[in-house]
């Protein structure tokens, strides 16, 4: 026993010495960092993410982290510019036949996968057919709903035939979810070792800690700036801020303006970017409480969108109408009550036969995104002013998703992703046959007709008035009450150069950035 105690003492002393020494070493290391400016071709860029990517095969990727990581490893056939509008990628923008049903893509010369094999039309055909196959459970399968067949007549050419014209088809090919995988690699092995034609190649992964990628020197669009990109998992926001400030993490993205502000210092810069996603009060017109359009319009008129932004989103966001696609953006002022109008709200309530208001059950989620509960509470206070009593139900994210999918709610706070294509954004919700029409709770023959017209028209200029009309009908009927588009903050170290400002804080062009 006495030997044990001595042993214990010695260990304590050793630990104490080690701690003191390491503190000293840290201090010295802190003094050593000098101020070089030129880009370091061998540099490592550390990108902070809050969770381990949940999926590693492009067509199943749904989590933000998966999309961020995989967008470095894989390339989609078509890229998007900084606003999210399609532009040439692995292939040029397609030639579209007169009848709008045949799309011909020409793949760039000399594109290779990370394993050295050529990327040709057979890989594109393979990937798209894999996505269409129900056994793959691809979240992107719906983008190919109108596809009749895919042909690869020669290695550089892909011809896609559609059952009917689909103007949103190209925008569906721009994301990680439709990125091209090699046809000669088993998809099962891609789960642990991804192989793509993106700017970086997969090197190693330690679960819950990090994913390391190395430069793909043969990347078709140019030479990636940093030799290595490490995605480092730091779950806690405050911890991420500390890591940015001490320079151990180079880039991180925040949606909380207060956190972004604390992360900004002499050593870091913060970039505010717009998002295509939107926050919305979803109303289900099919529920008895909300079946009268006047009841829904009363809600719309009683809500000040700016108030929601200022209090719940801490000032981070812009009031928004339905469509956020850059080329088709809805005029946020074009709705029955552009500003809060309590008198008008009361008029609508009277028209609905409920002059003293009614009770609205509102579902929101804890954990899906940071402001959801605050938004519900803010709306509760605002609607209370006209006598609409809101019962807020705050659910855990899984329970919320389950109830949402089952359309088991009257009203819900939601943040939905946007798209550069307005049809992709809303035909699933507001057409009778849409996959989420039951959830959205509203459709009309006029809207069905407009959506059909919009998707059959490939010319952007001709499409614009159609979607403006769709947007107007949605707000005039108060199908939902659209609140705002959020802002995101990309915070980076001063040693990072060439980071591009992109909609939705997409990091598809992270390869252009370098570290010094």
């Amino acid at each position: 026993m006495s030997t044990q105690r001595r042993h214990g003492q010695r260990t304590h002393a050793t630990v104490a010495t080690a701690l003191a020494a390491s503190l000293l070493a840290a201090g010295l290391a802190g003094c050593g960092s000098g101020g070089e400016d030129s880009a370091d071709a061998n540099g490592t860029l550390v990108f902070g993410i809050s969770a381990d990517p949940a999926q590693m095969v492009p067509w199943t990727a749904t989590s933000t982290q998966s999309i961020q990581v995989l967008s470095q490893i894989y390339s989609p056939l078509i890229n998007t510019d900084a606003d999210g509008v399609p532009e040439a990628g692995l292939a040029d923008l397609p030639e579209i036949s007169e009848d709008g049903k045949t799309y011909t893509f020409t793949i760039q010369d000399g594109v290779t996968f990370g394993d050295g094999s050529d990327l040709d039309s057979a890989d594109v055909k393979y990937t798209y057919e894999k996505i269409i196959d129900p056994a793959s459970s691809a979240s992107s399968a719906s983008y190919f709903a109108s596809v009749a067949g895919i042909e690869a007549p020669d290695p550089q050419t892909v011809v896609v035939t559609l059952k009917q014209p689909d103007a949103s088809f190209v925008s569906g090919l721009t994301g990680v979810n439709t990125a091209i995988v090699p046809s000669d690699v088993d998809p099962k092995s891609l789960e642990s070792k991804p192989v793509g034609s993106g700017p970086y190649q997969f090197k190693s992964r330690t679960p819950n800690e990090s994913i390391t990628l190395t430069r793909n020197a043969d990347y078709f669009a140019g030479e990636p700036g940093a030799a290595t990109v490490e995605f480092r998992i730091i779950p806690d926001e405050q911890s991420m801020v500390s890591s940015l400030k001490t320079g151990s993490v180079d880039v991180a993205i925040f949606d909380n303006p207060v956190t972004a502000k604390t992360a900004t210092s002499a050593e870091t810069t913060s970039m505010t970017v717009d998002s295509l996603s939107y926050h919305v009060l979803q109303l289900r017109a099919t529920s008895p409480t909300l079946s009268d359009p006047n009841a829904r319009l009363a809600i719309q008129c009683a809500v000040s969108r700016q108030d929601v932004i200022d209090s719940a989103a801490l000032g981070s966001g812009k009031p928004s109408g339905p469509i956020t696609s850059p080329e088709y953006r809805s005029d946020p002022e074009a709705q029955p009550c552009p500003e809060q109008d309590l008198d008008k709200a009361k008029d609508y309530l009277a028209k609905a036969g409920k002059p003293n208001g009614f009770t609205l059950k509102l579902m929101t989620s804890q954990g899906l995104y940071s402001t959801a509960v605050d938004e519900a509470q803010n709306l509760q206070a605002q609607l209370g002013k006209v006598g609409i009593k809101v019962d807020v139900e705050a659910l855990d994210s899984n329970a919320y998703v389950e109830r949402w999918l089952a359309a088991d709610f009257d009203a819900a706070i939601a943040m939905n992703g946007g798209s550069s294509d307005p049809n992709t954004m809303y035909s699933r919700y507001f057409t009778k046959a849409g996959s989420f029409n039951k959830v959205a709770g509203y459709s009309s023959p006029e809207l069905d007709k407009l959506f059909a017209e919009g998707i059959a028209t490939t010319d952007t200029a001709a499409r614009k008035p159609i979607y403006a009309e769709i947007s107007q009908q949605l707000v005039d009927q108060a199908a939902w009450v659209w609140l705002f588009t959020p802002e995101m903050y990309v915070v980076s170290n001063k040693r990072v150069e060439g980071l591009e400002e992109r909609a939705d804080a997409s990091i598809a062009t992270l390869w252009k950035a370098s570290v010094s």
Partner: protein, 305 residues
């Protein structure tokens, strides 16, 4: 028996909570999946099997050393645990060490003059330490260090003790300190109460009457006898730390076993949660066993019995 109970409880709780692996992975996009796609996914995750066969299948695997595979990272739970458990044990050992270093002398100090200033000060300090939530303390301490001396080793990417002892100990310092501070108060209180109880016993009065020097009396007679409840308390706290260091692991990015459970819960990875909770329960039982062994070392009377 306890372990079977724990495993059944975990199994049932996981399935009672709304949502499954599909809604966890796809979120609202699960609504875009066709019925064929859903079927394929249910088969993939084994959700189409009856509950009893799901449980027995998992239990059978565990009994043959197969803890299951994570559908997210495609690693076996066994290898994930082999990586994460040592990190948590190291953290728990350091935290208990800090807790004892703060708590035992604190308790001795408080007990030396009960009811007087030093007792009240140490009791008040321990009350404050107990009341401050660990996540708050963690955030406050780390952001203070960052803004004053620009030191935050936990952003560097975790290194194990074997890979880089120097960095590892730096990374462990803050989380161990935060946890140590939160477990010091119960240790302090236990030490104080035990010392006061032992001191009023007859054999102490006898020893004092026989002229045993004060220092020897304090250490050999009082403290040694007072240590037994302290060992019990430390054992309990240690067991708690193995599963409950989760918050601190999350804040300081320590890839420990608590985060493994949390990750499993978020992704609804049933096998990961069930097996990891079982591992934690086994560790808890082992720690209790170890506590009993330490009793025998500290208290000769237990040995005699």
């Amino acid at each position: 028996m306890t372990l079977i109970g724990v495993s059944i409880l975990t199994f049932v709780l996981l399935r009672v909570v709304p949502g499954d692996q599909i809604t966890a992975a796809y979120g609202t996009a699960a609504g875009d999946l066709s019925p064929e796609q859903l079927q394929a996914l249910e088969a993939y995750y084994g959700l189409n099997e009856p509950l009893l066969s799901q449980y027995l299948g998992w239990l059978g695997g565990v009994l043959t050393g197969n803890l299951g595979v994570s559908a997210t990272s495609h690693l076996s739970v066994l290898s994930m645990t082999a990586q994460s458990l040592p990190n948590t044990i190291e953290l728990a050992v350091l935290a208990i060490g800090i807790g004892l270093v703060l708590g035992v002398p604190g308790g001795m100090l408080a007990a030396s003059r009960p009811g007087r200033a030093r007792d009240q000060i140490s009791q008040l300090t321990s009350l404050v330490a107990l009341s401050v939530p660990s996540f708050l303390l963690a955030a406050a301490v780390s952001s203070w260090l960052v803004n004053t001396i620009g030191w935050y080793p936990n952003g560097e990417g975790y290194r194990t003790l074997g890979e880089d002892p120097l960095l590892n100990l730096q990374q462990m310092l803050l989380p161990a300190l935060v946890l140590g501070i939160s477990i010091a108060p119960p240790i302090l209180q236990t030490t104080r109460a035990a010392i006061l109880a032992v001191r009023s016993e007859d054999f102490i009065r006898t020893a004092r009457a026989k002229g045993v020097p004060a220092r020897r009396l304090q250490v050999r007679h009082i403290l040694r006898n007072a240590l037994i409840p302290v060992v019990t308390m430390s054992g309990l706290q240690f067991g708690f730390l193995l599963g409950g260091a989760l918050v601190v692991e999350q804040i300081f990015a320590i890839p420990g076993i608590g985060r493994q459970v949390l990750l499993g819960l978020e992704q609804k990875e049933y096998a990961v949660v069930q097996s990891t909770v079982l591992v934690i329960a086994v560790m808890f039982v082992l720690v209790n066993l170890l506590t009993d062994v330490i009793y025998r070392l500290v208290d000769p009377r237990v040995r005699v019995q």
